[in-house]
């Protein structure tokens, strides 16, 4: 019951937030100097061509009218055509989004279990050499900017060893096996980026729980250290861990434009950057919506997971 109400409340909040996101993006693009017609024509711009293009793109309509019109169309599922290419947005979005999700899911499938296991091991062997090695390695990997990690992986595994391709771009003609082979390096880069946060948070949360009296009780009862951590401590640490996992996953979806460029991977990020530079507001809005929805959705999931694992949260006083 509490859960249903929580979900309903959060979904409503999500809609409001998303709407706010679209208003913000719209205003931001409006504030950019020039408009799509000028950005497109650039130095080719003759006054006549700019006016013609503006008229075709409806850029002369008042901003409020354009925004409301767009909102109405999107609400009924009509994403419209790109201002710059005149192609329908929906199929492009489908390709880009599925590419982004494919890469994010692959990276997450490696990073999440690995981070949690390493976090538990660190907590279990706290203060030992193993703990320190894990900490140093994961912190080092996160301290390098992603393009640096990407280039290092490229040089070692693609150029010198030749195990993986330099260009990670996938297309529907490839089988799943080849697609996976192609995205190993970008996925590894992303793993390096998000691993440390999740690992450190797991370790900290578990250690935090370990200081509770009931853990002492379990120890006195004669439970093994491993059993205490896995059965008693981790379950109570799931809340904060779920939160940081959600944030990391969201990052994998929305924050990977640099990795996309280094590995030439056609995801949402590059699409959005290109569209911002050409002020293709329709595409920018849709990307913003997707990114906003990703954050909200994953956070909601994290909250639900926390509630499921922690009965206390189900009965708020």
């Amino acid at each position: 019951m509490v859960l249903t109400r929580l979900i309903a409340k959060r979904l409503f909040g999500a809609l409001v937030t998303l709407w706010f996101v679209t208003v913000l993006i719209f205003l931001a693009v409006e504030c950019l100097p020039g408009d799509a017609a000028e950005a497109l024509l650039g130095k080719d711009a003759t006054p006549v061509a700019v006016e013609n293009l503006r008229a075709e793109l409806h850029l002369n309509d008042p901003p409020v009218e354009r925004y409301v019109g767009w909102l109405g169309r999107v609400a009924v599922g009509d994403l419209g055509k790109s201002l710059t290419t005149n192609r329908p947005i929906a199929p492009m979005l489908a390709t880009r989004l599925s590419n982004t999700l494919f890469l994010a899911a692959t990276a997450a499938a490696i990073a999440v279990p690995l981070a949690i296991i390493l976090g538990l091991v660190s907590a279990l062997y706290r203060g030992t050499r193993l703990d320190r090695v894990i900490s140093v390695l994961s912190l080092a990997s996160i301290s390098f900017p992603e393009f640096f990690v990407g280039y290092i992986l490229l040089v070692v595994f693609a150029l010198n060893l030749g195990w993986f391709p330099v260009l990670s771009g996938i297309n529907p003609d490839m089988g799943l096996g080849e697609q996976l082979h192609r995205i190993v390096l970008p996925a590894l880069t992303l793993v390096c980026l998000v691993l440390a946060y999740m690992m450190r948070m797991t370790r900290a949360a578990v250690i935090n729980v370990l200081s509770n009296p009931y853990i002492e009780m379990a120890e006195l009862k004669g439970c093994s250290r491993r059993e205490i951590i896995v059965r008693h401590a981790f379950v109570n640490a799931v809340g904060p861990v779920a939160n940081v996992v959600a944030l990391s996953l969201a990052y994998l979806v929305v924050g990977v434009v640099v990795v996309e460029v280094v590995f030439t991977y056609p995801g949402l990020g590059q699409w959005m950057v290109d569209s911002v530079s050409k002020q293709d507001i329709l595409v920018v809005q849709i990307c913003g919506l997707i990114f906003g929805a990703t954050y909200i959705g994953l956070n909601l999931t994290a909250d639900i997971v926390a509630v499921l694992f922690n009965p206390k949260l189900r009965h708020p006083r």
Binding site: L41, T85, F148, V166, L167, G169, V262, K278
Partner: protein, 530 residues
């Protein structure tokens, strides 16, 4: 978690669109040049080999964006990838041969009327579009007219501004009427915007008369085309299939070439070319072109309305050092006018201007100017534009001229700095013939006269040369104009930059061109695979 994002973003040159100026400028750029192309040793041997049919050519190209389109008349068309795709699928009336000459393509031949006002183009017979339709004069008229008129959005509108009419004479003849006459009209008609498309289609979707038929196109990502079995041009289009992958990141593009994932790439960084040259299995296509870097001084307002100040800076600059430091020698020294050595009517007798600190000091003193000069620069112009400004500051300091380097953001550089600030760094992709670049950028009434320079004898020579059909007289006029520019204009032209492509040895054929990169963007039909 976003640490490093900003840095990475910038380091990768992502913020502005890549090759933005090319894309923007390309509109009026017939972007062609004439004449000699420098080749690395050994390249001449390729001409002797017999082209082999078949194979699949895969290129990794810089300068593509998800906002790209196939429609030549859509505003902003002309990024390097768009141009290369364009010449893979389409033909134009006139082709620029590797030696820079305008040669027949869809137009079999042409007749020039008196004063170069009325041109009749004879359209090639027996050419079909990819959809099987026969190509006729109607298609040619349609293909040119859609870039003209009140409702066009085409970047070529300015290029065709002075064309009065384009009329069909009969099924295989088209008459083009020029308002004032232009002896170089055929060069204009080789522009990539003016590809021949079928007349009755409303959307341009890749159906042309070119050597390859479109299979897959995802803008900014990937392009695949198969050989056109009915291609009319003999001795061209040898490979069975071509694939272009957009790789905007310099390091990734180079890696893809080294690992052999692609046969070739464009836009090599001059700084890494020396290293690449040592790698086995690769060759570098080094084409001397008409593109140049330029330092603009606004000649119509203080402080640069003072000719002595302009001359002081022209004498203060060490062009050789700039060429060496910025391009590692992959270019040629400029002489403060836009005519490259490879272009017709280049005046070899005009003395090369070199650094002369005494003259610089003399003119600086005579100008009476004091205080620092703000020099605006941005990587929006070209990747080493900041370095160029800093180098210029150091060189000018030797002559006692104080320059303050102002770094401008990439966004809005062309809107807010170019043509408006007094002292800034810019570039031009160059043009095939002197008339085009003079008319575009230095004629006092030109919209893109970015130095706001006005010289009446230069203007009148320009108009007279345009309709002068006697080449000797024309050469004399253009020589005089080059001298006027060198002495008086607001443009400092330190160097012309070369086009640098990297190819694996398997890619054969003469792939140099002075007009554009990648064999004039016609690599698909000019190369073959060993």
């Amino acid at each position: 978690m976003t640490s490093g994002f900003g840095k990475g973003f910038e380091g990768l040159g992502l913020t502005g669109d890549i090759g933005r100026r090319q894309l923007l400028k390309a509109g009026a750029a017939v972007g062609l040049g004439i004449g000699a192309s420098a080749l690395l040793p050994g390249a001449s041997a390729f001409a002797a080999e017999v082209p082999k049919k078949g194979g699949r050519l895969k290129l990794g190209l810089a300068g593509g964006q998800t906002t790209n389109t196939l429609d030549q008349a859509r505003g902003g068309f002309g990024s390097p990838v768009e141009r290369t795709i364009n010449y893979t699928l389409y033909n134009t009336l006139v082709e620029i041969a590797p030696n820079g000459q305008a040669v027949p393509e869809i137009a079999e031949s042409w007749d020039i009327g008196p004063g170069a006002k009325s041109w009749v183009f004879n359209i090639r017979k027996g050419v079909t579009f990819h959809n099987g339709k026969e190509m006729t004069a109607d298609d040619v008229v349609h293909s040119l007219r859609r870039h003209m008129g009140a409702d066009t959005k085409s970047g070529a509108a300015g290029l065709l501004k002075e064309i009065e009419s384009i009329e069909k004479v009969d099924k295989h003849q088209v008459r083009v009427q020029h308002a004032t006459g232009n002896a170089d009209l055929h060069y204009i008609l080789s522009d990539y915007h003016l590809a021949i498309v079928p007349a009755e289609t409303t959307t341009v979707d890749g159906v042309g008369t070119g050597g390859y038929v479109l299979q897959t196109y995802e803008p900014g990502v990937r392009f695949v085309a198969k050989r056109n079995p009915n291609y009319w041009k003999e001795g061209r289009a040898h490979v069975d299939e071509v694939e272009f992958v957009v790789v905007n990141d310099d390091a990734a593009r180079l890696s893809a070439l080294q690992s052999g994932e692609v046969h070739g790439i464009n836009r090599l960084d001059p700084k890494t070319v020396a290293l690449l040259g040592r790698a086995p299995g690769l060759r570098i296509i080094n084409s001397a072109g008409t593109a140049y870097y330029v330092i603009n001084m606004r000649a119509d307002r203080a402080p640069f309305d003072n000719k002595d100040l302009r001359l002081a800076l022209k004498y203060a600059i060490n062009r050789e050092q700039m060429l060496d430091r910025l391009l590692r020698g992959y270019g040629t020294v400029g002489n403060d006018h836009p005519i490259a050595k490879s272009m017709p009517f280049f005046d070899a007798k005009l003395p090369q201007r070199t650094q002369d600190l005494d003259k610089a000091k003399f003119h600086f003193k005579k100008s009476g100017h004091s205080g620092a000069l703000d020099l605006r620069t941005s990587t929006a112009a070209f990747s080493s534009a900041i370095d160029m400004a800093v180098l210029l500051k150091m060189q000018a300091a030797e002559a006692g001229i104080d320059i303050n380097v102002v770094r401008e953001p990439q966004d809005g550089y062309w809107e807010n700095v170019w043509r408006s600030k007094e002292f800034m760094i810019s570039y031009w992709t160059g043009r095939a013939v002197p008339d085009q670049i003079f008319t575009t950028a230095y004629y006092s009434k030109a919209a893109w006269n970015d130095t706001h320079w006005r010289n009446d004898s230069f203007d009148s020579l320009l108009l007279a040369a345009r309709t002068e059909l006697d080449n000797a007289k024309r050469a004399g006029m253009y020589a005089e104009m080059q001298a006027i520019m060198q002495d008086d204009s607001g443009a400092i032209v330190p160097m012309f930059n070369n086009f640098l492509d990297g190819m694996r040895d398997a890619v054969k054929g003469d792939l140099t061109a002075s007009n554009m990169e990648l064999a004039g963007c016609r690599i698909a039909e000019r190369c073959w695979l060993a």
